[in-house]
C-alpha cells in the first residue's frame, strides 16, 4: 500500500478504498463481480449472494452493490443517511475457518490498524423476512462505530445452507468517513485529488439524493407501482412455472435467474410503495409475505439448476 500514490490511498479517496478492498479480495481468490444491474435494497439481493449461497458448490465472490432504501432519503440534509449508498459484499462458501482473520486483514488493507483501534465483534443476528433468510453473526465495530456486518448464512430463500456461507458487508460510505475523518458523507473525497481536481461525494450524489427523496416521498406514481408489483409477481410465478423440465424423478429448472429478477423487482417496488406511505400496517405484512413466497420459490428453482448443484446428486 505504501507504493500507492496519495490520491489512490483509502484514507484519502473513496474510490481508492473500494479499489483496495477489491484488490484484497481478488488476491484472496474471489471472483470480482460488477454491481447487479437492478435496483436492490442490499448487496445480499444480488443473485451472486442470494442464489449462489445455496447448493453444495464452492463460491467465493466480491463486488460493490449500489443499494437503495427509499425510506432513508433525507433530501441530502442528514450527514449520514442516504437513500442510495454503496455496499461492498463478500461471500465465501463454505465459510473458511480463518474468515475472521481474513476480515481483519481486509481492514488492515484499508488502513485500519488493529493495534491502534478497538475492533469488536458485537452480536447481531441477521434476518431478512422478504428473502426468507437468516443467519448468525456480528456487527463489526471500530472504535464504537459499526463498519461491517458479518453473517454466517443458515438459511436463504427458505432453503437450508449446506454448506454454510460467510457473508461480509462493508458499509462503504461509513467506512470511508471513518478513514478519511469526515463527519458529513457529502464531504468525502471521491477521487482523492485536491484543489480544482477534487471531486466530493456530494458533487456526485447530493443532487441525486435530493431528487430521489422528492420522488420517493412525494412524486412516485403509486398507481403505477401497484401495477408493477402485481406484474412482477405474476411474471415471477409464470417464469417459475415455465422453467420446470423433466419428470418428477429428475427435476431441473431452466429459468431460475430470470424469475429471481422479478422477485428483486417486486421487492424494490414494495420498498418504494412503503416509502410513499401508501401501504397500511396490516397490508405491509402481507406484501412482505408475498415477496418471501417468490424468493422461496426462486430458491427452490435454483437448487434444481446446474450452478445450484442439481447435477451433483439427487435432490
Amino acid at each position: 500500500m505504501d507504493s500507492l500514490p496519495a490520491h489512490m490511498r483509502p484514507e484519502h479517496s473513496f474510490q481508492g478504498l473500494i479499489l483496495a478492498l477489491q484488490r484484497y479480495w481478488a488476491d484472496y481468490g474471489c471472483v470480482i463481480l460488477q454491481p447487479y444491474d437492478m435496483e436492490v435494497g442490499a448487496g445480499t439481493f444480488h443473485p451472486a449472494t442470494t442464489l449462489r449461497a445455496l447448493g453444495p458448490k464452492r463460491w467465493n465472490a466480491a463486488y460493490v452493490q449500489p443499494s437503495r432504501r427509499p425510506k432513508d432519503g433525507r433530501y441530502g440534509e442528514n450527514p449520514n443517511r442516504l437513500q442510495h449508498y454503496y455496499q461492498f459484499q463478500v461471500i465465501l462458501k463454505p465459510s473458511p475457518s480463518d474468515i475472521q482473520e481474513l476480515y481483519l486483514k481486509s481492514l488492515a488493507a484499508i488502513g485500519i490498524d488493529s493495534h491502534l483501534h478497538d475492533i469488536r465483534f458485537v452480536e447481531d443476528d441477521w434476518e431478512s423476512p422478504t428473502l426468507g433468510a437468516w443467519g448468525l453473526g456480528w456487527e463489526c465495530w471500530c472504535d464504537g462505530m459499526e463498519v461491517s456486518q458479518f453473517t454466517y448464512f443458515q438459511q436463504v430463500a427458505g432453503v437450508e445452507c449446506a454448506p454454510v456461507a460467510g457473508e461480509l458487508t462493508y458499509g462503504l460510505e461509513r467506512l470511508a468517513m471513518y478513514v478519511q475523518g469526515v463527519d458529513r458523507v457529502y464531504d468525502l473525497n471521491f477521487n482523492g485529488r485536491d484543489g480544482a481536481e477534487r471531486v466530493s461525494y456530494g458533487d456526485v450524489f447530493l443532487q441525486a439524493e435530493q431528487e430521489y427523496s422528492r420522488h420517493n416521498f412525494e412524486y412516485s406514481d403509486a398507481d403505477m407501482l401497484f401495477k408493477q408489483f402485481a406484474m412482477a409477481e405474476e411474471a415471477c410465478k409464470k417464469y417459475l412455472e415455465a422453467g420446470w423440465k423433466g419428470g418428477s424423478n429428475c427435476k431441473e429448472h431452466l429459468l431460475a435467474l430470470p424469475a429471481y429478477d422479478q422477485c428483486i423487482k417486486a421487492s424494490h417496488v414494495f420498498n418504494l410503495l412503503d416509502a410513499r406511505g401508501v401501504i397500511s400496517v396490516t397490508e405491509r405484512q402481507s406484501y412482505i409475505m408475498r415477496v418471501r413466497e417468490l424468493a422461496k420459490a426462486c430458491g427452490e428453482a435454483w437448487v434444481h439448476t446446474e450452478a445450484g448443484g442439481a447435477a451433483d446428486g439427487p435432490t
Partner: protein, 702 residues
C-alpha cells in the same frame, strides 16, 4: 484427587449469553459426573467473549466398583427362565449363582454381579462430547466445510479449539481423549485476539488462568467488572464527576472484552439541551458507554466513559477520538429527532393512529385511545381528578409512540410524551400522565399518585383487560403475551395504594359494551364475573407474596357483589387479624363444625335447612341463648359493616363464640324428635348465615 480443566474456545459469544452458558456448562458436567458416581469437591465456570471454561477439582480417579445382587428364578424353575437368567447376568452356569433360602416362597437363585468402576479419564471422554453436542444455547449455528454434512456440530458461533485435561496437581495431567466434529481436545488455547494471538500450552486451571492473564485475558467476568467499575469511577472522580452506575450495562460491557481498558471522552456542551434520558439511551444502547454526572447536582455532564478491549499503541488517543466522533454523530441524530419532534404537536400526530392496528380483533390504536379517553373521564370523579384534564391526558398519552425519539428508543415511551406535552404548554398533571399512566410496570415499580395519572393509568389497564376478555384471549399457564396479569396487578395496586373506592363490575360492564363486537348481555355478565375472578386471583398472588393469608381472599370474594377491591382488601385484613385471636379461631372451628354437620345432614336428607327456626321448638337453654345471640350479633354486625367498620363487625361476630361453644357442648343436634332435629339444623344454618356477614368461613383453610 485429580482436577478437570475444560475450555471451549470459539468466535465471539454474545455478551447476554455468557453467564448462563458458564452456569450451564458447570451444571451439565457436574451432574453427569455425579450420575457416573464421581462425587467432586468443587467446580467453577467462567466465560469471556471467546471462551467458556470450567474447572472441577477433587474428582476421584476412578468410579467406585459396583456390586449388584440380581434375583433369579426359583430353584428347579423352568429351564427357559434359568437360561434367561444366565444370559441376563452373564454367568457361565448356575454354579456361579448362590441360592437364597426362602421358607415361605421357596428357594431361589441370586447372581452377584461385580462391575469394576471405569477410570474417570475414560468416563470424561464419553460424557464431554455429548455435553458439547447437546449444549443449550438459545440460538446455535453451523459453519464451514462440515456444515454440509448431516449431524454437523452446532455451536453459538464457530468453535475452534477444546482444552480438556485431567490429573493431579503434582503430575503432568492427561489429555481427555475425544474429538467433536473434527476438533480434538488438547491443551492448546489462545490469548487476546490482538495483543497475544499466539498458541499457549496449558496444563491445569492454575497455570491456565495465569497464562491467560499474561496473554491479556482476564478469565473471570467478575474481575473484569470490578476492573471496569473501579477504573470508571476513578476516571470520573479525578475530574470531579460521578459515574452514573448501570449494572446491566456493566454486565454487557464485561461480556464484550477480554482485557478491559477504560477511557473517558467528551462531547459538545450543546448536546446537553437534549433530555438527559435521551443522551443516556443514545450513549448506552448504541455505544455501550457510561455517562457521567456532576457530583453534587446529579446533572449529566458532556463526558462519557468507554471500555475498549485493547491497550492501543498510541495510549488510546485514536480510540477515544473515534468514539467521540461516533457519539457526536449519534447525538446529532438524537438532537435532530428531538427538535423535529418538538415541531409537531402531539395531537397532530394522532390521525396516524387510524392506520395502526392495536390488535386485529380490537381495532386500531385510534379506537383504543378513544376508549381510554371515555373510561378515564368516567373514572376521574371517582379518584378526585379533574374530568377535562383526565380526558386531555388520555387523549395525548400515547401520541409519543409516533415520535422519532421513541421510534429510536422505545424504552423512552411515556417519558418523551411528558417532555413534549410540557413543551407545548400542557398542564403539569396532563404531562405527567404521559409518563405515569404506564405505571406500575411490576410489583416493585412506583405507583402514581397524581389523580389525573391514576385515572389514565386505570383506564389504560382496564381497557386492555376488558378488551382481551371481550375477545376471550385470556392468559393461560405461562402464556401471557399481552402482560394481562401485570395489568391486573397494576389496577389492584393503583386502587389499594391510593385508597380508591371503585365498583369494578358496573365499570367493566359499561366498558365491555363499547367494543366493536358488542355482545349479548348474558355474555357480558359472564365475562364481568370472570374478569373479577381474575382480579381475585391476582390479589391472592400478591397477598401470598406479601406473606398474607390468601385463602381469606376467597372467603371474602365468595360473598355477594365484592367488586370493590379496596373494601375487599380491608375486609381481608380485618378478617386476618380476627382469626389471629382465640375468639376468631374458636368461632371459625364452631362455624365449620356447624357447616360440616349441615352438609352431611342436608346430603343425607336431600334438602336444605335454610328456613327460619321455630322459637317454640327450642328445648334447651343453650338453644335459646344461641338464637338470641345470633339475632343481636347480626344486627350489631350489619350496623358496623354499614359504616365499613370491619373490625367492629368482626368483634360483633366474636360474641357468638361462647354461645356456639356451649351449644355444641350441651346440645345433640340429631335429636330423636325429627321436628326438633330439623329446627336445630336450621339454627346451625343461622350460625353460618350470621358469619357470612363478614366472610364465607367455609373457604378459610384451617
Amino acid at each position: 484427587m485429580p482436577d478437570l480443566l475444560l475450555e471451549l474456545f470459539s468466535e465471539e459469544i454474545p455478551a447476554r449469553m455468557q453467564a448462563k452458558a458458564a452456569d450451564d456448562l458447570r451444571r451439565m458436567v457436574t451432574d453427569r459426573l455425579v450420575a457416573e458416581g464421581l462425587v467432586y469437591e468443587g467446580a467453577k465456570a467462567f466465560a469471556t467473549p471467546r471462551r467458556l471454561a470450567l474447572t472441577v477439582h477433587g474428582i476421584p480417579a476412578r468410579q467406585p466398583d459396583l456390586k449388584e445382587e440380581r434375583k433369579g428364578p426359583r430353584v428347579g424353575g423352568p429351564a427357559a427362565a434359568i437360561a434367561g437368567f444366565l444370559k441376563a447376568t452373564g454367568l457361565a452356569s448356575l454354579d456361579q449363582a448362590t441360592i437364597q433360602r426362602d421358607p415361605k416362597k421357596g428357594d431361589f437363585y441370586v447372581a452377584l454381579i461385580e462391575k469394576p468402576g471405569r477410570g474417570t479419564l475414560d468416563v470424561l471422554a464419553d460424557i464431554l462430547p455429548v455435553i458439547i453436542r447437546t449444549f443449550p444455547w438459545p440460538k446455535s449455528m453451523r459453519w464451514g466445510e462440515r456444515s454440509a454434512r448431516p449431524g454437523a456440530l452446532q455451536w453459538v458461533r464457530p468453535l475452534h479449539a477444546i482444552v480438556a485435561s485431567f490429573g493431579l496437581e503434582t503430575e503432568q495431567p492427561d489429555i481427555v481423549n475425544f474429538a467433536v466434529d473434527g476438533i480434538a481436545a488438547g491443551q492448546t488455547t489462545f490469548g487476546h485476539r490482538f495483543m497475544a494471538p499466539v498458541p499457549i500450552s496449558v496444563r491445569r486451571f492454575e497455570d491456565y488462568e495465569a497464562k491467560l492473564l499474561d496473554a491479556k485475558v482476564v478469565l473471570d467476568a467478575e474481575r473484569r467488572k470490578d476492573a471496569i467499575l473501579t477504573d470508571a469511577r476513578q476516571l470520573a472522580f479525578a475530574q470531579g464527576y460521578d459515574l452514573v452506575e448501570d449494572p446491566g450495562l456493566l454486565d454487557e460491557v464485561a461480556g464484550l472484552v477480554e482485557w478491559p481498558v477504560v477511557a473517558m471522552g467528551s462531547f459538545e456542551q450543546d448536546f446537553l439541551s437534549i433530555p438527559p434520558e435521551v443522551i443516556r439511551a443514545t450513549i448506552r444502547n448504541n455505544m455501550k458507554c457510561f455517562v457521567v454526572s456532576e457530583s453534587n447536582t446529579a446533572k449529566l455532564t458532556n463526558k462519557f466513559i468507554l471500555t475498549a478491549n485493547i491497550e492501543a499503541s498510541d495510549g488510546g488517543k485514536a480510540i477515544v477520538a473515534g468514539n467521540e466522533r461516533v457519539i457526536r454523530a449519534r447525538l446529532s441524530d438524537a438532537k435532530f429527532f428531538y427538535e423535529s419532534d418538538l415541531k409537531l404537536k402531539l395531537e397532530d400526530r394522532l390521525p396516524k393512529f387510524d392506520n395502526i392496528v392495536f390488535h386485529e380483533k380490537l381495532g386500531t390504536q385510534a379506537e383504543r385511545i378513544r376508549r381510554i379517553e371515555r373510561l378515564a373521564a368516567e373514572i376521574a370523579p371517582l379518584v378526585g381528578a379533574d374530568v377535562e384534564k383526565a380526558k386531555r391526558a388520555a387523549h395525548l398519552a400515547k401520541a409519543d409512540l409516533l415520535t422519532d425519539v421513541v421510534g429510536e428508543f422505545p424504552e423512552l415511551q411515556g417519558l418523551m410524551g411528558k417532555y413534549y406535552a410540557l413543551a407545548q404548554g400542557e398542564d403539569a398533571s396532563v404531562g405527567a400522565a404521559s409518563e405515569e399512566h404506564y405505571k406500575p410496570q411490576g410489583p416493585t415499580d412506583r405507583v402514581p399518585s397524581d389523580p389525573v395519572s391514576v385515572a389514565v393509568a386505570l383506564a389504560d389497564k382496564i381497557d386492555t383487560l376488558v378488551g382481551f376478555w371481550a375477545i376471550d384471549e385470556k392468559p393461560t399457564g405461562s402464556k401471557d403475551p399481552y402482560a394481562l396479569r401485570r395489568a391486573a396487578l397494576g389496577v389492584i395496586r393503583l386502587i389499594v395504594e391510593n385508597k380508591i373506592r371503585l365498583n369494578l363490575i358496573p365499570l367493566v360492564a359499561r366498558h365491555i359494551a363499547t367494543f366493536v363486537n358488542a355482545q349479548a348481555s348474558t355474555d357480558i355478565d359472564r365475562k364481568c364475573i370472570d374478569l373479577l375472578a381474575f382480579f381475585a386471583d391476582r390479589l391472592k398472588v400478591q397477598l401470598r407474596e406479601q406473606g398474607a393469608r390468601y385463602d381469606l381472599v376467597d372467603a371474602v370474594f365468595a360473598l355477594e357483589s365484592q367488586d370493590d377491591l379496596l373494601t375487599v382488601v380491608r375486609r381481608v385484613e380485618a378478617l386476618g387479624r380476627f382469626l389471629d385471636t382465640d375468639d376468631g379461631k374458636n368461632l371459625l372451628a364452631g362455624t365449620k363444625r356447624a357447616a360440616n354437620i349441615l352438609r352431611i345432614e342436608e346430603k343425607k336428607d336431600g334438602k336444605a335447612y335454610d328456613g327460619m327456626p321455630d322459637v317454640s321448638l327450642y328445648r334447651l337453654v343453650e338453644e335459646k341463648a344461641l338464637a338470641k345471640a345470633i339475632g343481636q350479633v347480626k344486627a350489631e354486625a350489619s350496623t358496623a359493616l354499614a359504616k365499613e367498620d370491619f373490625a367492629g363487625g368482626m368483634s360483633a361476630i366474636a360474641k357468638l363464640r361462647p354461645v356456639v361453644d356451649a351449644f355444641f357442648d350441651r346440645v345433640k343436634v340429631n335429636d330423636d324428635d325429627s321436628k326438633v332435629r330439623e329446627n336445630r339444623l336450621k339454627l346451625l344454618n343461622e350460625i353460618r348465615d350470621a358469619t357470612r356477614a363478614v366472610a364465607d368461613f367455609s373457604k378459610i383453610q384451617d
